[in-house]
């Protein structure tokens, strides 16, 4: 074996266990941090979880009572966010990957603006949302206002992951559809989007997570009212705002803050599970993967 070959073999003999150690070690670190955090939440908040907690209204500034109306507001805000961000985001991602040349100036401009948007502080989004949606467009403190602001916030994540998923679909499939005489629109609808669906759903879940985690943006847009909203133009308190208020503003609110945080995580698990299930059984069925 040549000198260089022996070097390479020797290097890989120490590198392999080192890499394995580094990767497994990182995985353990991350899992450990997660368990520590969730464990702390469970330790302090699990005793307050009950069906009554989920359905009744908050009492005594949220210290006792439940989070029923707040769950309603949260889900409504999430609904508005997804309804606004998904079509817009998907359309932009499709344009960027399928219709624009790789180095087109428009594509690069949109890409740049997305990356910058991802970094705008959440409180600036809150102030902007307040000035634009609540005041300028006249929506006031409302679910709609909060949802649209959050939609602006999750657009970068949605678009970037949708882009990545679409690019992962092999070009052969595009060429094949063209050979079959499909228009690009039809190819998108019947071939490409279903093929990219698992990645699209993953991006959606990441975006939903980001939306549910948001606090500062919602205090100024969807507001503080803890009543169940009767329309999208009503103000409604989101779960993250409630957690913030209970832990930082209300003396003695810690107990319910922990419990609400657990409910939020539970809600995320539910949404994640449902979305992944739908993706596997509904969308993926249309495509036979080799």
């Amino acid at each position: 074996m040549s000198e260089a070959g022996r070097f390479a073999l020797a290097r890989s003999r120490t590198l392999e266990p080192l890499m394995t150690l580094a990767v497994w070690g990182s995985a353990f670190l991350v899992t450990g941090a997660f368990l520590w955090l969730v464990g702390d939440l469970l330790w302090h908040g699990a005793e307050r979880l009950s069906w009554a907690f989920l359905s009744s209204s908050p009492l005594n500034a949220g210290r006792t009572g439940g989070i029923g109306p707040i769950l309603v507001s949260t889900l409504l805000i999430l609904g508005v966010t997804v309804a606004a961000a998904v079509p817009l985001g998907l359309a932009t991602a499709v344009l960027l990957t399928e219709f624009l040349r790789p180095r087109s100036w428009f594509g690069r401009l949109v890409g740049l603006s997305l990356d910058v948007l991802a970094g705008v502080p959440s409180i600036v989004f809150g102030l902007f949302g307040n000035a634009f949606f609540s005041v300028f467009l006249g929506l006031g403190f409302s679910i709609l206002s909060g949802g649209l602001t959050l939609a602006c916030m999750v657009l970068p994540i949605l678009i970037r992951t949708a882009e990545a998923s679409l690019r992962a679909v092999p070009d052969d499939w595009r060429l094949g559809s063209a050979a079959l005489g499909l228009s690009r629109t039809a190819a998108l609808r019947h071939v490409l989007l279903p093929a990219a669906s698992s990645g699209l759903v993953a991006g959606l879940l990441l975006g939903v997570g980001r939306a549910m985690a948001e606090t500062a943006a919602l205090i100024f847009t969807s507001g503080y009212v803890d009543r169940s909203p009767s329309s999208l133009l009503d103000s409604g308190r989101a779960l993250s705002v409630h957690i913030y208020d209970l832990s930082m503003n209300v003396a003695g609110g810690d107990g319910n803050a922990y419990a609400s945080a657990l409910v939020l995580i539970g809600l995320l698990i539910l949404i994640n599970g449902t979305a992944l299930y739908l993706a596997e059984h509904w969308l993926n069925r249309r495509i036979m993967t080799p």
Partner: protein, 292 residues
């Protein structure tokens, strides 16, 4: 369908229509940022007009009530905390993605991925709360006061880790299987394949993920507010309390009026400017996405 085309190379009308609609959507997406920047400029105009840009960097301290608008220590704190978090989260995140794709048994990879996705959804308030009640006292026992640059970096790492991990995961998945098969056929070890074949191929996707994470780190408000100490000073050690630009806006916006308020919006502009620079730099580094 084909008979409706005018010539072999002209696009179908349904496709041009779709491209039209998509362009409108993309244009709308791009204008969101423009509107936000305009908003920031509009709100910060009063103080910019009277005091000008330079004083925001050269003034010795941040005391708007005494007409001092020095942003430099907070700018440094923002940069250092985000950079530290990016380094840590970058390493841990890419390692997590590698774990899912190459090292974990299938029964472990899926729950791990679900756990990381879940981590992405935990509110910044909860991170901050946990940091304040668990992490900070721990650090305080080692070196008071506990609230510090270190605490900020650790919490930020946890928060941006999912973004890095999940986008890196998607980037790794996009590496053509042919590359992996080729590497195996050549007898390259797993670590060699990863370092020499997979990571370079997934480079642009990973950098895109890092950029998203950097943006998130720079823009994070609530959690750093609770654990970093919020003292306006240039940090000399990891254990010094610091105030980031975002925490400054959050702390003082509620009670600021007039020029003080406008000054806070200027710091928002500075942040946006930083991110634009970062994004442009990443564009140069990452290059065009590789299409196979």
């Amino acid at each position: 369908m084909i008979w409706s085309k005018r010539s072999i190379s002209s696009p179908l009308s349904v496709d041009t229509r779709l491209a039209g609609w998509l362009s409108v959507a993309a244009g709308l997406t791009a204008t969101v940022l423009v509107v936000i920047v305009l908003f920031l400029l509009h709100e910060s105009w009063p103080v910019l007009k009277r005091i000008g840009w330079l004083r925001f960097l050269t003034d010795v301290a941040w005391h708007p009530s005494e007409e001092l608008f020095g942003l430099a220590p907070m700018l440094l704190a923002t940069l250092v905390s985000s950079a530290g978090a990016l380094v840590l989260a970058g390493g841990l995140g890419v390692a997590s993605a590698l774990f899912c794709r190459f090292y974990a048994p299938p029964s472990a990879a899926r729950p791990y991925r679900r756990m990381v996705t879940l981590l992405a959804g935990i509110p910044s308030v909860v991170f901050g709360f946990w940091g304040l009640t668990v992490l900070v006292p721990l650090i305080a026992r080692w070196q008071p006061p506990g609230v510090s640059l270190l605490a900020g970096i650790l919490i930020l790492t946890l928060m941006i880790l999912p973004t890095v991990a999940l986008t890196a995961d998607a980037a790794l998945a996009a590496v053509p299987k042919a590359y992996l098969h080729g590497a195996a056929a050549l007898g390259i070890s797993r670590s060699g394949t990863i370092l020499r074949v997979v990571l370079p191929a997934a480079r642009s996707g990973i950098i895109a993920g890092l950029l998203l994470a950097a943006g998130r780190a720079l823009g994070e408000t609530m959690a750093v507010l609770m654990v970093a100490g919020n003292v306006v000073q240039t940090p000399h050690s990891l254990f010094d309390p610091v105030r980031t630009l975002t925490a400054n806006i959050a702390l003082e916006m509620a009670y600021a009026t007039g020029e003080h308020r406008a000054g806070l919006f200027v710091s928002g502009l500075v942040l946006t400017g930083m991110i634009i620079l970062l994004a442009v730099a990443a564009l140069r580094l990452g290059g065009a996405r590789s299409h196979v």
